[in-house]
Subunit: 185 residues, 4 copies
DNA sequence: CATGAATGAGAATTCATTCAT
DNA sequence: AATGAATGAATTCTCATTCAT
């Protein structure tokens, strides 16, 4: 693995373990096993490094959300696939998921990055729009709609992360169903 | 206003504006208009100060959530009241709401505080339990259930905060309804 | 003596002893006997500190140049007084003199400072102008004229500083005379 | 041009533009368009590199000062030739001239280099000595004498470099004359 | 209580230098 | 020779905290 990747990984790990406010370069050097100067060959400052971690996490999540997505399936199937993908991504990549969830609205992340191109978002919106046209989904502002279903997954995952409860197959199904019921007619 | 309150307010404002990781005492002194030594007459360290901000925000929110709550009302009425209170609190006190939402799981906040007594939580749980007994709410793990309805409000508020959309009366109603549909039978 | 003065003095001493390129904050702290943070309460960066050293040296020299200057004296007397003052200042304050001489044209010193108000310069120019009007001084561009007489003193002092020769009364007189002859008719 | 020359040139340029204290290898690499390792094939350290720049500048100046010097000419002619050469060298090679002028007494330049063989100095001294013997030049300590005439040129050049004034033929003549009058009887 | 100058541990960053290719 | 990624010692600078007034 390249030094660059070592550094990005160590940074994400540290953010997850101790919170962004206590991540220092010194901790990053040690965790990534690189010399102190090395980081600065790749990232000109801590802010840039953290933003790059964010960018890569967003790309990773964007891909995961669309995995196995089949536009020829029925609307509800597609909805469930997308939601399931999000839930699974959160369960499998808790560090990335939490980092994105926590810092998407932080001033530390540059606005350009926050609004980076995101194909999965377009797919989500097209599903919601189609559902509303078909009369399956309630006629709510699509952005509101998106926040609702996203919020259900996000909140469930956070409870899971702090071990409030396990997330077995049944509870996963209940969660997906809840997010569907929340917006469907 | 007392110096103590000046300091707490300045701290919350700064956390909101720049994120906890960029809040320094020096910034707090200036914003609160107090001498640098003054803070230490009230708070023994930065961690204690931030935790106190958290504690007061939690107390404030706890009261707001139960405002006008009437246990003699019907179950759905009570549910709506609680959810409306949460949404309204978020809209009226965005700094406190966001701070609580963002840092409740941060290592910077002491575990005791995180689990501080919270009457509103008990009330929520009793409503959910009663709803499940009455067959109005689906038989899901109550903690899951709580996360779901909480997650809807939280997510809607975050979109509102970044001005994705306004929150007028109609959209508020849609949000509350969505949170109810998500868990009701 | 105030900490601020301690720092300025230590900085000037170090520049004189080792040259600007090897002056570090760490050396300044030790020499000035102050904590490392203290410097930054007074000067926001090394550049600012060095510029302040320059500014104070210029003020000091400006005062010294005009010491005992009497506008009612004859022209040659006044010329000699000014030149003597410069020579004496250099001999008595070699660190300040050399620093000004070496860095007045350095990019490290801000242009505003380089062109700071300087009453002594005006006095010099008025003496030169008057001398030219009276036909005592050759009609050369006054700025050229100023550089010539200044250059004689400066160069003599540098030789003196590296102990090429002593500067006793006779040599001082010869120097002053040389600078006069250089521009007089 | 060889890499070695590229490096020496880039170094001199940087010293001129930003001052020795701000010259870093990284800047040299970029300006000279060589890889970072390349410098160390030619110079074992930064100090050695800078000293080599100094040495070459001194050699260059030494040659320029004696250009067209004809020992069979009259004394004043020879004096003027030498002074003119110095002035012309400064005007044509401001970077080298200023570097020599500024750093000849810096601890960064090795003492051996500072006192390197310099035929032009001997020539100067012989002219001054002869002038004194002939009663054309005042009987001043020859080192003082040398500093005086050198100082006039140096100072005039510095004013010219910061564009205080142009140096056209008339002003050049005035400068040479001034340096002669300063020491002549 | 209120203040702010002083502090020094430690964090961010620079930069000369090495070394494998 | 030429390169440039990697290094870590040295440097600049920050910031929570103390303490005398």
């Amino acid at each position: 693995m390249s030094k660059r990747k070592d550094i990005l990984k160590a940074t994400l790990d540290l953010i997850h373990e101790e919170g962004l406010q206590s991540v220092t370069f010194s901790k990053i050097f040690k965790k990534a096993n690189v010399g102190s100067g090395t980081v600065f060959n790749y990232f000109s400052s801590k802010e840039e490094l953290v933003n790059e971690v964010y960018r890569e996490a967003r790309i990773h999540m964007g891909e995961a959300l669309l995995e196995g997505y089949d536009s020829s399936l029925g609307l509800y199937e597609r909805f469930k696939q997308l939601q399931m993908n999000r839930l699974k991504f959160g369960m499998q990549s808790p560090k990335e998921y939490l980092f994105i969830d926590s810092y998407s609205y932080s001033p530390y992340i540059s606005p350009e990055l926050r609004h980076m191109e995101d194909h999965s978002l377009e797919v989500f919106n097209s599903v919601l729009a189609e559902g509303q046209k078909q009369g399956l989904i309630r006629p709510i502002d699509p952005r509101l709609c998106y926040q609702i279903i996203n919020g259900v997954i996000s909140s469930i995952l956070k409870g899971y992360f702090v071990q409030k409860y396990p997330l077995d197959e049944q509870q996963i199904q209940q969660t997906l169903e809840a997010s569907w019921k929340a917006i469907s007619l």
